[in-house]
C-alpha cells in the first residue's frame, strides 16, 4: 500500500525530535493495514503534536487545545467506518483531562496517541502534567510543587480497555500503533519521547534513559482485561434501535364551546408534591378541547421535592400576549408557602376574583370571593387537591366545563391513572 504521508508537506520538527519517528511509524501502520487516505481521519490537538494532521494525506481536523477527543467522538459516531486517530501532547492530556477520562469511560473506537515529551515544546518548555519535579523547565520552580501524572494508570482506572506505554524509539513502534488502531474500542498509547528543541536543552534524556525509566514501571501492553466491554458506537446503535419511536405531540381538536369569551387567568398556589404543574397542564388541555389558546408558566424551587410550587395559567379565546398574571380570575390556594410566594398578588384583586382555599391557610386580606373546601376530610390525598379544585370550577362552568375536564384527562392519562382521575372527578362532583 502507498504511503499516506503528504508529499507537499514534509514534517518540520526540530532535528532529533521524536515526533518525526512517530510520524513515520504511524504512516507505516496505515500502510501495513492497507488503509487509503479517505479511510482515515486524523484529529490533532495543539502544540507540536498538533502539526500531525498536515503531514498526512487523510481526512484531517485540527482544533482547540485539549478538545481533540471531543471532535473525534462526533466524527466517529457520524462515520463509524472511519479509522480515527487522535494526536495529542502531554499538554493536551492535561488541559483536556475531563475529555480523556470520559473517553476512557465511553470506550468509543478511537486511537489516542499521547506524544509525551514532558514539557510544552511550542510555547517555551513550560511544565506539563508529566514533567518530573526535578527537571529544569521554563516554569522556574513550579514543577517542583506538582506530581507528574501517570496517564496510563489514570486511563486504566477510568475504564480504558486498551493502554500501552512505550518509548517512541521502539523498533516495533509501527506494529504497536497498528495493534492499537485495530483494537475495537478506545485505545491509548502513551509514547515517551525527546524534545531537543526545549526539554533536553537543560535536561539529560536519552532513548536509553527512557527505556530504563519505563522498565521500572509496571508494563502496560495493550488490552486491559478487566476493562473489556462492547464498543460504545456499536452499543449505542444497538440500544438506539431498540428505543420506541417518540410519540408525536398530542393534538387536541376543538370539541366544545368554552364557557366564557375572552381571557381567563388562574393561579395555582401549592407545594411540591401537590401535583400543581400537572393540574395546570390539565386545565390548559381542557382549554384546548374548547379551542382556547393556553399558556402555563411555572415557578418552583430547584429542590423539586420541597418548597412552593406555583402554576400560572392563561386561557383565552384570543391570542395570548403577556403570559404573566396580575389580576387572576381564580386563585387556588392549597399551601401556605405557595400563598406566601405570591403575597403581592392579593393586593390587586377584587370581588371578581374567586379563591378556592383549603382550611387552615392564611390569605392576605382582599376583596375576593372565598370558597373554602376541605378536601382532606373527604378523603382526598393532597396530591389530588389541585385537580379536585378544577372539578369544583368545572361544576360551576368557571373557566372550564366538566366535558372539557374529561377531555383533558383523556388526553393526559391512560389506563389506571385515567380511571383514578375519573374516579376523583366523580367523587368531587358528588361530595363537594
Amino acid at each position: 500500500m502507498d504511503s499516506l504521508l503528504n508529499k507537499d508537506r514534509p514534517p518540520v520538527f526540530c532535528p532529533g525530535c521524536s515526533h518525526k519517528r512517530i510520524t513515520t511509524a504511524l504512516d507505516k501502520a496505515f500502510r501495513n493495514m492497507g488503509l487509503k487516505g479517505n479511510e482515515v481521519g486524523i484529529v490533532s490537538d495543539i502544540g507540536c503534536s498538533g502539526l500531525f494532521d498536515t503531514f498526512f494525506h487523510t481526512h484531517a481536523l485540527h482544533g482547540l487545545h485539549g478538545r481533540a477527543l471531543t471532535y473525534a467522538a462526533g466524527i466517529k459516531l457520524a462515520r463509524p467506518e472511519l479509522k480515527v486517530v487522535v494526536t495529542m501532547g502531554d499538554g493536551g492530556q492535561g488541559i483536556g483531562g475531563a475529555h480523556l477520562l470520559a473517553a476512557c469511560r465511553r470506550n468509543l473506537d478511537l486511537t489516542l496517541l499521547i506524544l509525551n515529551n514532558f514539557n510544552f515544546g511550542m510555547t517555551g518548555g513550560q511544565f506539563s502534567a508529566t514533567t518530573p519535579p526535578d527537571a529544569q523547565v521554563g516554569s522556574r520552580f513550579l514543577n517542583q510543587l506538582e506530581r507528574p501524572l501517570d496517564v496510563c494508570q489514570v486511563a486504566r482506572s477510568a475504564g480504558a480497555p486498551y493502554v500501552t506505554r512505550c518509548s517512541s524509539y521502539r523498533k516495533d513502534l509501527a506494529a504497536i500503533i497498528e495493534q492499537a488502531i485495530r483494537f475495537e474500542g478506545f485505545s491509548i498509547i502513551d509514547m515517551w519521547g525527546i524534545c531537543p528543541g526545549r526539554y533536553t536543552r537543560s535536561n539529560k534524556l536519552t532513548p536509553k534513559m527512557i527505556e530504563a525509566s519505563l522498565g521500572q514501571l509496571p508494563p502496560l501492553e495493550g488490552v486491559v482485561a478487566e476493562n473489556a466491554r462492547p464498543e460504545y458506537g456499536r452499543r449505542y446503535r444497538e440500544l438506539a434501535a431498540r428505543q420506541h419511536p417518540a410519540a408525536e405531540p398530542v393534538k387536541i381538536e376543538k370539541k366544545f364551546d368554552p364557557p366564557q369569551i375572552g381571557r381567563r387567568e388562574v393561579t395555582l398556589l401549592g407545594s411540591a408534591g401537590q401535583r400543581i404543574l400537572t393540574a395546570g397542564e390539565i386545565l390548559c388541555l381542557a382549554g384546548l378541547s374548547a379551542g382556547l389558546k393556553a399558556t402555563q408558566k411555572n415557578d418552583y424551587n430547584i429542590t423539586v421535592l420541597r418548597g412552593p410550587s406555583i402554576s400560572e395559567l392563561v386561557l383565552s379565546t384570543e391570542e395570548i400576549g403577556f403570559t404573566g398574571i396580575d389580576k387572576p380570575d381564580v386563585i387556588i390556594a392549597l399551601s401556605q408557602e405557595g400563598i406566601d410566594r405570591r403575597k403581592s398578588l392579593f393586593g390587586s384583586i377584587d370581588q371578581d376574583t374567586l379563591i378556592i382555599q383549603i382550611p387552615g391557610v392564611t390569605l392576605p386580606p382582599s376583596q375576593a370571593t372565598i370558597h373554602t373546601v376541605n378536601f382532606k376530610s373527604s378523603g382526598i390525598r393532597s396530591s389530588d387537591w389541585a385537580t379536585a379544585a378544577l372539578v369544583i370550577l368545572a361544576k360551576s362552568n368557571t373557566v372550564l366545563t366538566l366535558q372539557m375536564l374529561n377531555a383533558a384527562l383523556e388526553a393526559r392519562f391512560s389506563d389506571k391513572s385515567l380511571s383514578a382521575a375519573k374516579d376523583l372527578v366523580e367523587k368531587v362532583k358528588d361530595s363537594l
Binding site: 482547540l64 471532535y71 467522538a73 405531540p249 390548559c284 402555563q296 411555572n298 430547584i302 403577556f322 396580575d326
Partner: protein, 372 residues
C-alpha cells in the same frame, strides 16, 4: 384546527428534527435541559444520535465533529454553558462549521438564578468569540417562533456555514403553550452545498459568485481538511496577510451583506411618532401595551426583532422612518439599545429595562412610553 401543548424547548426539538437535525449533544442545565430530554426521546429512534457530554465544551465539540462529518447538529445550554462554549464558537465561526446553538437564557451574571428568565446574553452571543466576527442570532417570542425559527436557524447554518444562535429565555423555553403545528408555514429545507460536478473540492476555496465555501463531509471519498488555525483555501495554516485579510473580510461580508434576506420581524401600526422596539418574550407585553395605548387614543408603533445579529439595519431604519422617538425595552440593563442608538442616530432613543427575574409587564411598558 388541532392544538398541541408544549414548551418552547420542546418546540425547538421538534423543529430541529423537521429541519433534518440528526445529532444533538448537551449537558444538563436549567432552563435548557428539556431540549436535551426531548432530543433524547426523539432522535435515537430516528437513527440519530443524542449525547450527554462530560461538560459543555465536550458537548459542542461532539457537535462540531459530527457537523464536519456531514450531520446537521445542534446543542443547547444557558449562560454558564454558553460561556464555556466560547472557544468552540470561535472555531465554528472561523472554520465555517454549521451548527445551531440554543441559549435558553437565565438570569445572570454567572450561575445567577437557574429558574428565572432574562435576556442578558444578547451581546455575549454576538461578541463572545475571539476575533469578533459576526454570527447569526434569532430571538423567539413564543412557542410558534421556537419551532419556526429553529427551521430557519438550520437553514441559515447550512447556507452560510456558521453558528446560528437561538436566543431563547426561560420564559419562552419553559413556558408551555398551545401551538397549531400544522398551521406553521415552513421554509424549504436547505442543505449545505457540495461542489457542482466537475469542480474539484478545495476545502475553503470560494467559487465565483459565492461567499461561502462548498462543503464535503469528513469521511467521504474526497479528502477534507479542517483547521482552527488561520488558513488558506486548502485548509493549511497561512501567514500571508493578503490571504488572511481576504478571508476575514469575507467571513464578515457573507453575513452582513445577506442579513436583509433573513431579517425576521413583526411590526404593528407603522406610522406613529413613537415606536416601541423589543424582542424575545418582552414582545408579548409590548403587544398588550400597544393595544392599550391604541384604545386610549395614543397609538404607538411596535417593531419586534426576531433577527438580532447581524443587526438588520435596513429593516430598523425603514420601520422607524416615521418615528421621532424609539423606546427600546429589554429584559436586561441595556444591551441592544446601543445598536439602536447607533443605527437610528438623530432620533431620540429611550431605554427601559429590568433584570430581576420578573417579566416586564404591559403596564411598565406603557409607563415607559407615556412618561419617558
Amino acid at each position: 384546527m388541532a392544538l398541541s401543548f408544549m414548551e418552547g424547548n420542546e418546540a425547538i426539538a421538534w423543529g430541529a428534527l423537521e429541519a433534518g437535525c440528526r445529532f444533538f449533544a448537551g449537558y444538563p442545565i436549567t432552563p435548557a435541559t428539556t431540549i436535551l430530554n426531548t432530543m433524547l426521546k426523539i432522535l435515537p429512534p430516528k437513527g440519530g444520535i443524542c449525547l450527554q457530554g462530560e461538560d459543555e465544551i465536550a458537548s459542542i465539540g461532539f457537535c462540531l465533529g459530527a457537523s464536519m462529518a456531514g450531520m446537521k447538529a445542534m446543542t443547547a445550554t444557558s449562560g454558564p454553558g454558553i460561556s464555556l462554549y466560547s472557544e468552540q464558537i470561535s472555531f465554528a465561526v472561523g472554520s465555517e462549521i454549521p451548527i445551531v446553538i440554543v441559549d435558553v437564557q437565565r438570569l445572570g451574571p454567572s450561575t445567577g438564578s437557574a429558574t428565572r428568565g432574562a435576556d442578558g446574553d444578547i451581546n455575549f452571543l454576538r461578541w463572545g468569540n475571539s476575533g469578533g466576527l459576526p454570527v447569526i442570532v434569532l430571538t423567539p417570542a413564543d412557542v410558534n417562533d421556537c419551532f419556526y425559527l429553529t427551521l430557519q436557524a438550520f437553514n441559515l447554518a447550512e447556507e452560510f456555514r456558521c453558528p446560528v444562535f437561538i436566543a431563547s429565555n426561560k420564559e419562552v423555553g419553559m413556558t408551555r403553550e398551545s401551538i397549531d403545528l400544522a398551521a406553521i408555514e415552513r421554509p424549504a429545507i436547505i442543505d449545505r452545498t457540495p461542489p457542482p460536478s466537475g469542480e474539484a473540492f478545495v476545502p475553503f476555496k470560494i467559487s465565483a459568485g459565492r461567499t461561502v465555501p462548498y462543503f464535503q463531509p469528513i469521511g467521504d471519498t474526497v479528502l477534507v481538511r479542517q483547521t482552527s488555525s488561520t488558513h488558506g483555501p486548502e485548509g493549511y495554516i497561512t501567514i500571508d496577510p493578503d490571504q488572511i485579510a481576504a478571508n476575514q473580510n469575507r467571513l464578515m461580508r457573507k453575513l452582513h451583506t445577506a442579513v436583509d434576506r433573513f431579517s425576521f420581524f413583526d411590526s404593528y401600526l407603522e406610522n406613529s411618532d413613537t415606536m416601541i422596539l423589543t424582542y424575545g418574550v418582552t414582545t408579548r407585553a409590548a403587544q398588550v401595551a400597544a393595544d392599550v395605548l391604541k384604545n386610549e387614543g395614543r397609538p404607538v408603533s411596535l417593531l419586534v426583532l426576531k433577527t438580532l445579529w447581524p443587526v438588520p439595519v435596513n429593516l430598523i431604519q425603514k420601520k422607524a422612518q416615521k418615528a421621532s422617538r424609539v423606546v427600546v425595552i429589554e429584559m436586561n440593563l441595556g444591551q441592544y439599545v446601543n445598536e439602536i442608538t447607533r443605527v437610528l442616530a438623530g432620533k431620540r432613543v429611550d431605554f427601559y429595562g429590568q433584570m430581576d427575574g420578573r417579566l416586564i409587564t404591559p403596564k411598565q411598558i406603557k409607563e415607559a412610553v407615556v412618561n419617558g
